[in-house]
Symmetry: none
Subunit: 215 residues, 2 copies
DNA sequence: TAAATAATACGGCAATTGCCCTATTTTATA
DNA sequence: TATAAAATAGGGCAATTGCCGTATTATTTA
C-alpha cells in the first residue's frame, strides 16, 4: 500500500487529486494539509509516509520551503511538486530543494499514478514540458546562477521555432527553407516576434529570448 | 504524418524500433542509417524530417557528434537519443549536444510513440531514471563546466571592442557613436572581424566570439 | 630604420532586413 | 458554434548590412 499525503491550499484541488488517486487500489491518502506547517505538524506525529504531492504556492510555508525542510528531516519521503504553473524559477528552486518530480495539476489519473510509482522506484516524475525546461537549464548554466523571471512574454510554438533558427544566425530565406515556409511567412513571424519582445533586430531578439529562457 | 528517421549501427535494433512504430498509422519512417555520416548525407538531399531516433555508440560518427551537427544545421529537427545505456556522461553530453529527449531501447511501443509526440509538441521525452539523473546534474552544478577550445583567433584590441558593441545588438552608426569613430571605420573593423572569424553576419560573429571566449 | 600591422576613413552596390499594409486558411477556445 | 488567435502568404519601401574597392596615418617590431 502506497502511503501518500497531499498538501495544497485549495481544498477543491485536494479533493480532485484524491479522486484521481481513488482509481488505484494500492494508493492510500493518509492525510492532507492546507499548507507546509500543517504538514510538518502531522509529520512530527508520524512520518510513516511514502510520498507527498506538494503544491508550490501556499500561505504560511510554501511548497519549496516545505520540501527543503521535509527532505532534511525525513529524506526517505519522496516529494512530487504538483502545481498549476511551470515557470523556470519554481522548477529550479523545487529541484534544488530536493523535489523528486514535478507534475502539472492538469495531469490525468493514470499518468499521476505512473509518476508516483516511478518516483518510488527511484526515478523522477516529470511532465515533458518541464523535462524540456530542465534540459534548457542544464544547457545554460548561466540561467542557473541568476534565473530571471520571464514576464508575460508568450510566443507561439511557431514563433519559438523561428526564433531558434534566428539564433543560428540564418537569413530569412534559409529559415523559410528549413521550416518549409514561404519567406514572407518567416518575415511576418519575425515581425510579430519583434513586437512581442519589443526589439528591432535579430540580435536583440535572440538575446532577449535567451535571457528569458525562451530559447 | 510524422516523418521519422532512425540511426543505429545495429540493423536488428533498427528493425525492432521500426516494428514498434508500425503500430501507429501517423508515423512514417522516412529512412534509416547505420551511422552519423550516412544520416548527414541523407539529410543533405532532403531535410524534410520531424524527428530522429538516434543511437549513441556508433562507428564513424557517434550519436553525440551527429546530434551536434544536425542541431546546428537543421535546428527544426527534433532528436531523441535511443540507447541501451544511461550513464551520466552520455546523458549530459547528449543534452549539451542539443538532444530533445533520452529514452532507453527497452521502451514499449506506446511510450516510444508518446515520447515522440510530446517531443514534437515542444516537450522532452525522458525515461524516469534519466529524468532523475538530470535533476541530480542540476543540483550539482560542479559537473557542469564547459571547457572551451581556444583556437588561434587573434583580434586586435579595437576589434574586440567593436565585437563587444556588436554583441549588444547595436547598429554600425550607434557603435561608431559609442567608440567615437566614423561609421566607415566601424564597418571596416567589422569586415576584418568577419574575415578573421570566417563568418558573414553580426549574429555569427558574436556567437563564434562567445564560443571562443573572446567576448 | 624599414617593413608590417593596426587604426582610421570614404564611396559604391547588391542583398538583406525591418516595418508598414492586406488577406486567406487553420486551429483553439470560449 | 461563433469568435479569437495562430499560421500562412504576399507587396512595397527605406534603412541597414555585407562586401568590394582605395587611401592616409599611427604604432609595432623585426
Amino acid at each position: 500500500m502506497l502511503k501518500i499525503a497531499i498538501v495544497d491550499d485549495n481544498s477543491f484541488l485536494i479533493h480532485a487529486v484524491k479522486e484521481k488517486l481513488s482509481f488505484f487500489d494500492d494508493v492510500e491518502v493518509k492525510h492532507t494539509s492546507l499548507n507546509g506547517s500543517e504538514l510538518l505538524t502531522k509529520l512530527q506525529e508520524s512520518h510513516k509516509l511514502d510520498l507527498i504531492l506538494m503544491d508550490i504556492e501556499m500561505p504560511v510555508l510554501n511548497g519549496i520551503e516545505t520540501t527543503q525542510i521535509v527532505k532534511q528531516k525525513y529524506p526517505h519521503i519522496k516529494i512530487i511538486m504538483l502545481t498549476a504553473f511551470d515557470n523556470d524559477e519554481h522548477i529550479f528552486n523545487a529541484i534544488k530543494a530536493g523535489a523528486d518530480g514535478y507534475l502539472l495539476k492538469e495531469i490525468n489519473p493514470k499518468d499521476l499514478y505512473d509518476g508516483i510509482c516511478e518516483t518510488l522506484n527511484g526515478g523522477a516524475a516529470m511532465n515533458p514540458s518541464i523535462a524540456m525546461k530542465t534540459l534548457k537549464l542544464l544547457r545554460n548554466p548561466i540561467d542557473i546562477q541568476n534565473p530571471r523571471d520571464q514576464e508575460e512574454i508568450s510566443l507561439s510554438t511557431r514563433e519559438v521555432e523561428v526564433l531558434e533558427q534566428l539564433s543560428k544566425g540564418l537569413s530569412y530565406t534559409v529559415i523559410a527553407d528549413h521550416l518549409f515556409l514561404s519567406p514572407s511567412t518567416v518575415r511576418k513571424h519575425i515581425e510579430n516576434i519583434y513586437k512581442k519582445l519589443q526589439v528591432h533586430s535579430k540580435m536583440e531578439a535572440v538575446q532577449k529570448a535567451k535571457n528569458h529562457n525562451i530559447i
